[in-house]
Subunit: 573 residues, 2 copies
Amino acid sequence: MRTSKFFLSTLKEAPAEAELVSHRLMLRAGLIRRLGSGLYSWLPLGHRVLRKVESIVREEMNRAGALEMLMPSVVPAELWQETGRWEAFGPQMLKIIDRHERAFLYGPTHEEVVTDVARREIKSYRQLPVHLYQIQTKFRDEIRPRFGVMRAREFLMKDGYSFHADHADLEREYRNMYETYTRIFTRLGLQFRAVAADTGAIGGTGSHEFHVLADSGEDAIAYSQDSGFAANIELAEAVAPASGRAPASRPLDKVATPGTTRCEDLAALLKLPLEKTMKAIAAMGSDGFCLLMLRGDHSLNELKAGKIDGMAGLRFATDAEIEQHLGCRPGYIGPPPISADRKVRVVADRSAAALSDFACGANEEGFHLKDVNWGRDLPEPDLVADIRNVVDGDASPDGTGKLAICRGIEVGHIFQLGTKYSEAMKAVYLDESGTSRPMVMGCYGIGVSRIVAAAIEQGHDDKGIVFPAQIAPFSVAILPIGGAKNPAVMETAVKLYDALLASGVDVLFDDRDERPGVMFADMELIGIPHRLVISDRGLKAGTAEYKGRRDASSVNVPIDEALEHLKRALASA
Amino acid sequence: MRTSKFFLSTLKEAPAEAELVSHRLMLRAGLIRRLGSGLYSWLPLGHRVLRKVESIVREEMNRAGALEMLMPSVVPAELWQETGRWEAFGPQMLKIIDRHERAFLYGPTHEEVVTDVARREIKSYRQLPVHLYQIQTKFRDEIRPRFGVMRAREFLMKDGYSFHADHADLEREYRNMYETYTRIFTRLGLQFRAVAADTGAIGGTGSHEFHVLADSGEDAIAYSQDSGFAANIELAEAVAPASGRAPASRPLDKVATPGTTRCEDLAALLKLPLEKTMKAIAAMGSDGFCLLMLRGDHSLNELKAGKIDGMAGLRFATDAEIEQHLGCRPGYIGPPPISADRKVRVVADRSAAALSDFACGANEEGFHLKDVNWGRDLPEPDLVADIRNVVDGDASPDGTGKLAICRGIEVGHIFQLGTKYSEAMKAVYLDESGTSRPMVMGCYGIGVSRIVAAAIEQGHDDKGIVFPAQIAPFSVAILPIGGAKNPAVMETAVKLYDALLASGVDVLFDDRDERPGVMFADMELIGIPHRLVISDRGLKAGTAEYKGRRDASSVNVPIDEALEHLKRALASA
């Protein structure tokens, strides 16, 4: 493609409202333009990226045996009324009234439509399994759309739905999709993690999110650096320390700690490591008052704590409740000593239960206890459980390696739906014995347009976008410097351009009569992975100048070898 | 693809509401399923056809230099208010209100959006020309959707828009698109005609429709069998007979013709050819009463007649008006004789003006005149003009060959918009002299989903669909007869299947354990162009049975040559 025949529309500055780096760069590079709130046009440059992402997704879905189809974007309300989602989905669903005053919606997802197809077409176990998918424009009427195409109202999505005779076959397809998504994001050239998205209550295989790793990601992810384990930080299990609890080694001591209510201050005052202090969190659950004990360096995971028997509806206790149950104001509270008449329920985190010779509140204003030990000074906890958030360096719950924490952008989600939709919509089949059974379903989404933004969040520098080679709008840029006035430069550049085209390389030939600085800046801004500069000075030296987008500096290569050099660079990308 | 892994869902009968053959066959073959009024899901089989059409359109648009992009389907009302189309477009426009009570529409076409992109991005003549297109789902809220995807509410369309510095450059791109559309429909394997869609008043180059020829088409088209001329029958020019008017050869005669009010009856009574009779149509226009004279075998074209000076607002005269102006009841009227005091305006069609010795009404109930001649018996017509519909056998207005009449389905439209949208939306650029000018625009549409239905209207027989090879869902079907019980049959069939796959052929391997009759019927119904049958009997004879979808009968080919035979058949298709 020649730049003169293309529609390059770069900007020096992005509009002020663009907060996210990908949003700013997509506007500056001219990948997208805003049409309205949460509505973006994909200009030709951005569209090339979008189509490349789409193609990889399609190829891998087809390879995995899924069948592409296309459902209407405008869906009759009746179908969503059957599953109750017409009322339940909320205001993100864009309702539409047609000229006959009939109610429709712009599909934000298509479980109902595809289940309707399945219940009409599938009668027998012999027709199962089947996996239908589409790549389609969706709409979610976000209340405050922002971040460009990262959270747009109209977006491009791959949504797939599988139908099975039983749960075992759903699990087989779920693994197939797990592997397919892994192949897709690998081919897209992205660093990503598959994250267990559920609580583990249904075996930990019910749902996985695929996250592109990026500092700006909305979700925090804990992952093992040595295995495939990854989970949303809210859900990652904090395992018990392998070493267990050391024996008590020093006698209990009560120390005056006036004005010292935080563990950090206590550790400093007592010259202890923070992890030798203990915080007590007073909470109210369905069974009443409870003390949650955590190491000073750990934080409570309310999701986990709320799932403990008797802790449903967890909330923090009020000061009055604390005084009532412990006889002490917050800041100095702790479990009543083993000798005390007063008893309260104590739930200790696994790490807290493994501490010995630790410091904690004395249940007396202005005092803490030092060298405290469970069983000796305090009763053993009523319950030891995982109630904290994992931290960097924790052992991985799969037993392999340590956890690290990173941030991610959700770009894919696979989900074992089971029979939720098939039962609501009576999508049944006859099994081998002639018995009618609901089909077992899975669903599998990929945010195609969001991937473009996520790739840029992961790949950019101060000059602009650094696209993975697989989805860059062009693979190579050829820049003839001063070519308009120098026929030798132009001729050499055109020859290379033609040779690359003939080899099937996606090459942009910058034949604009622009200053070199403008050409360099544009090609770096739009993220072309390989750049070859032909100049008068180079020609005289018999060289062309090559630079990879991630390279710190350029190299001169003999003109005759430039083509081979580029091809090697392309092959190694 | 193996049938067992595919989603084949054929029906013996189509639902009763399907009127059109393409609609019936698309339902029976399982290409589409109805979701709601004018809303269809494309099942995997139909989707393959849709994607093949889309790919050919995309390839040729790209080859022609157009740049693909993607605009939102949901468009803010403000843009359409700028051009006045928010009010003018009518109820086919699907209006949408979002959660913030702001007005949008589901774009039925995108002139406003693309013009908004152009006015923001294009500042200088140096950025022109540019041609932007998209392939996108559109919505038109038809009051009575019918004929399946032929006139659906939601449909897939390629819509392109070009921007130019002047009209000459628009005309260049218009020709480019004319040729591109010709290539597209040729590659799609369709019989089609490019039809001049306007009146010729702006040079005949302002708009062309591309029609797929099919008996069921909504539009009648007149075309030259010897040249590229084609026009909507309403607009095709009826030229004057080349031979001119013959001299009068017989004296005027008045004959009694009681009860004979139609030209057909008059010709029979007088034993004249119909084309020697003349019909007089009494009409009222802006200048009052007028007689339109046509040969008995011709029909009035009201569109043409209404454009004559003084005939604006053309309507047929009432009986009272006829009596008032001619003194005679309808059925026997004609121009007042040359000798009469009574004068009325007479407009004669070119063919009528060229007649001599003809028969027409005597302006006296129960009587006609015979061997009438203009200038001798009747005054020369006040005006000679083209006021009739062309008929089969007319001379082509481009001077080459004779006209034939056929019916067509509009699948493409190219249009020189000029500055209609750029002026309304202030889409201007600076020309070389620094003057601000409105961009000159063209627009170019193709009904991608409609093409699938049109191809079936053109290609079908009593067994089902006969797809052009280029857009068939699969190119080849391999049928192993009784393969489930005969390993030799299955093995031979699989070998051929694998060899075809390795050659990149789109092949469907029917590995269902079905009766041969079911397999044959399904493969014929869905329109696979080439079929190869492997059977026990064939194997014993060392042959496979080949049949092209259009062939009357099958041929046996040696097993060893079956692959080559298929490849030859594929290449010649």
